[in-house]
């Protein structure tokens, strides 16, 4: 069954790599729901956060294909229970509306929105959270003359991750990594071994 997966890719910050990664999805006709590129905890290493809806088996194979790319150091995939994630949204509303209608102010408080810019003609609010919360606020603000809305890509932290510093040391050594590529066989060793 298709579900939401967040893919985290640690890679060199090289021109063209975004395309190399993006075409791995489009080749398989998989839509990227959200894509964020940013520096990572390690200087010089970039971090891609990609959200897709897919079945796990396909995601697993995709991860291996991504990791195979020369400039990719490591790729992970996680379901929503295994990560902490946030998206950021900006809303532009008419300042008059905010002053006139007490409901608007209440709404903004309720959703933890903060004013970023206040001008005579408009005010820009910012909020962050999960997709559903942002979507909800967008929906209700729609009734009060929402002038402009934009939402960022997802950024996510992997719960189980110990960071990339140690990994990088391993990568920089000129010997093969000891990393075990996960495989079902690992769970079934008892069936196969008898030596």
């Amino acid at each position: 069954m298709k579900q939401e997966f967040t893919i985290t890719v640690y890679a060199e910050n090289h021109i063209g790599l975004l395309n190399r990664i993006a075409i791995m999805f489009s080749r398989r006709k998989i839509n990227i729901e959200s894509l964020n590129t940013s520096p990572s905890e390690v200087e010089g290493i970039h971090r891609f956060t990609i959200v897709i809806n897919e079945v796990e088996d396909v995601v697993k194979k995709l991860i291996r294909q991504i990791e195979k790319q020369v400039e990719v150091l490591k790729a992970y995939y996680n379901n929503n229970d295994e990560i902490v994630w946030q998206e950021l949204a900006l809303y532009k509303v008419s300042t008059d509306k905010v002053i006139e209608d007490v409901k608007v102010e209440r709404l903004l408080r309720q959703y933890g929105a903060r004013a970023v810019v206040i001008r005579k003609d408009y005010t820009v609010f910012e909020t962050s959270g999960h997709r559903e919360e942002i979507d909800k606020l967008t929906e209700v603000l729609g009734g009060f003359g929402l002038i402009e809305f934009v939402r960022s890509a997802r950024v996510a932290i992997i719960n189980a991750s110990k960071g990339f510093y140690e990994k990088l040391k391993e990568f920089e050594e000129e010997k093969p990594r000891t990393e075990i590529v996960e495989n079902e066989f690992l769970d079934k060793q008892d069936e196969v071994f008898s030596m």
Binding site: R27, R64, K68, P176, I180, V181, E184, F185, V192, S194
Partner: protein
């Protein structure tokens, strides 16, 4: 430049031509151009022969090449596609990296088919393309094409150089990536300003490590043990031999492995020739037009051992009917291949040159006579229905199979056979005999018509001591026949056999079998091939009678230099057996 990075040839050339300043070597610390650095890199990587076609945006590199003509052999092809196929043929027979030069725009886009072919068939190739000046990028300048983005999905790695200082290290990376791990094509696009830019030459240091790139996964002992355990217990083990064995130079290790375990072995189209045809454990070819036994018994074996192959759909047929009863051991250097198409019970990651001997050491000496006899029984059935009528036909018209039968006799299986794509390719794989590895050069994964003629040129430069015979259909030959000009100009000794059935035979066969004989645009008219060859000063002959076959082939083989032999074969012959599309391997049809 330091001694350590001089190739043997370079050292010699320095001794004999010590007065030269630029030919052979540029001194470290001197001012040189980016173009000179490109040629220096080829030199340091031990490139002796390479292919290319000049043009506006790569002219500075060709200008630098002018001074290296006596040390590196550049072969001027007639079309960039011919250039890259030649580089592929070179890589396949020599085991070295094939190199091709092309200019920007159309020159570079003409490489695309060859890049896709090299990518899917894991062939080590380095392409160097010229590009417009960096300040013109994105302006729709004359002959500007976004080559990097066009070639991203069909290269193992690509990179655009805009500064000459990058050239030595980027080319070192290019060669390292192309040949290490699972090999593949690399494209380096160099803007014209970087080609003419002068910089202080730091020398050339081959690349041995890239932190984000692991060519080989680590070999895990428990998988080796588990694999050996499964094989030792197996009653009906079956080995599938892929190109990984050839790419890993592991032919001897592979033989030791199957001989100790007494393991019947079938091969993929690209694995062909890694195991001699007459080896007692060689049971034949896998896949759509493979042998009867290997296909049927895939679904009867208890342990399937795949070595350096990727379970292509032409090998497996319908996946849900493929070897469901078997435990599967998959040896591959590329972790992404494990579980991609067929789920592996035991994945053995690593270079098979390392993993095979480790497994072999744990194997019990065994023979599986009864099981091997099953292959032989099915072989008999296939011989009766398919092979004998193909090799010894009753009809007046010659068959493709009988051509190979006589050719085998004359070459003793020692020739390099280069094939194009289609019926003749499948017939060649089925019937050509091989005694040594790296002898079968063909476009497997991509199925590129027009591959054979140019890649035969490269194959000859890659294996100059060997007989190179290109076998091509009347359709495929007409796709790249311009390379006859290259053969003429460089006196390339390739023998060309055109198997002419006046049809695009494989498509016609499918139309006959699956489209009610509605022959839609498969009837192809050909020129007078012998006269065409003559126009290129290549001798040739055309035959249509069986009694002339042996003498004509002998005459071709004895001929000093290139030769074209056109052989008229039956128009509507089909290649059998055949696993129809959408069927399981065991549903293979003998007729």
């Amino acid at each position: 430049m330091s001694e350590a990075i001089l190739s043997e040839k370079a050292k010699k050339s320095i001794k004999t031509k010590s007065e030269m300043t630029s030919v052979g070597k540029c001194a470290v610390g001197t001012e040189i151009s980016g173009s000179q650095a490109v040629i220096e890199a080829l030199f340091a990587e031990g490139v002796t022969d390479f292919f290319g076609y000049p043009g506006g945006a790569i002219m500075p590199i060709y200008d630098a090449l002018y001074d290296y003509q006596d040390t590196i052999n550049h072969i001027l092809v007639r079309h960039e596609q011919g250039g890259i196929h030649a580089a592929q043929g070179y890589a396949r027979t020599s085991g070295k990296v094939g190199v091709v030069f092309a200019t920007s725009g159309p020159g570079a886009t003409n490489l695309v088919t060859g890049l896709a072919d090299a990518q899917i068939d894991s062939t080590p190739v380095v392409c160097i393309t010229g590009q417009v000046f960096a300040h013109l990028l994105g302006t729709d300048a004359f002959q500007e094409t976004d080559v990097i983005n066009i070639t991203t999905p069909i290269t193992k790695w690509n990179y655009q150089v805009t500064d000459a200082n990058e050239i030595p290290s980027v080319l070192a990376k290019a060669f390292y990536i192309a040949k290490s791990g699972r090999p593949g094509p690399v494209l380096i696009d160099i803007t014209k300003n970087a080609q003419v830019q002068k910089f202080t030459y730091p020398g050339y240091k081959p690349c041995t490590h890239i932190r984000s790139y692991r060519p080989k996964p680590i070999v895990r002992k428990e998988y080796i043990q588990a694999a050996a355990e499964l094989i030792n217990k197996a009653e009906r083990p079956f080995v599938l031999l892929g190109q990984g064995v050839i790419l890993g130079n592991a032919e001897n290790e592979f033989r030791a492995f199957i001989e100790k375990g007494g393991l019947p072995t079938a091969w993929t189209v690209l694995g062909l020739s890694a195991l001699p045809t007459d080896h007692p454990l060689n049971v034949g070819m896998l896949g759509m037009h493979g042998n009867y036994g290997p296909n049927v018994l895939t679904n009867e074996c208890d342990v399937l051992i795949a070595v350096g192959m990727r379970f292509d759909d032409r090998v497996t047929g319908r996946l849900d009917k493929y070897a469901k009863q078997a435990k599967i051991i998959h040896l591959d250097i590329d972790p992404a291949e494990i579980d991609k198409n067929v789920h592996a019970t035991v994945p053995v990651w690593g270079d098979c040159k390392e993993t095979l001997p480790l497994i072999t050491s744990l194997l019990k000496n065994k023979q599986h006579e009864n099981w091997l006899n099953k292959f032989k029984e099915l072989r008999k059935q296939e011989e009766e229905v398919v092979i004998t009528p193909e090799l010894h036909p009753d009809g007046d018209m010659m068959t493709m199979g009988e051509v190979f039968n006589v050719l085998n006799d004359l070459t003793k299986g020692d020739a390099v056979i280069v094939t194009d794509v289609g019926q003749h390719q499948m017939v060649s794989c089925r019937y050509a005999k091989f005694t040594q590895s790296r002898s079968n050069v063909t476009s497997g994964g991509l199925g590129t018509m027009g591959f054979a003629l140019p890649s035969a040129i490269g194959a000859k430069f890659g294996a100059p001591q060997r007989n190179v015979i290109a076998v091509i259909g009347d359709g495929g030959f007409q796709m790249t026949l311009q390379e006859l000009g290259t053969i003429m100009q460089f006196n390339v000794d390739v023998k060309i056999i055109i198997l002419n059935n006046h049809f695009l035979g494989m498509v016609r066969q499918w139309q006959q079998l699956f489209h009610d004989k509605r022959y839609s645009f498969v009837n192809i008219t050909s020129p007078d091939f012998v006269a065409l060859a003559k126009a290129y000063s290549i001798d040739g002959k055309s035959i249509s009678k069986r009694e002339n076959l042996r003498s004509a082939l002998q005459e071709m083989l004895n001929h000093n230099g290139s030769y074209l032999l056109e052989i008229m074969v039956g128009k509507e012959n089909n290649v059998f057996p055949m696993v129809p599309q959408g069927c399981g391997v065991a549903e293979i049809r003998l007729k």
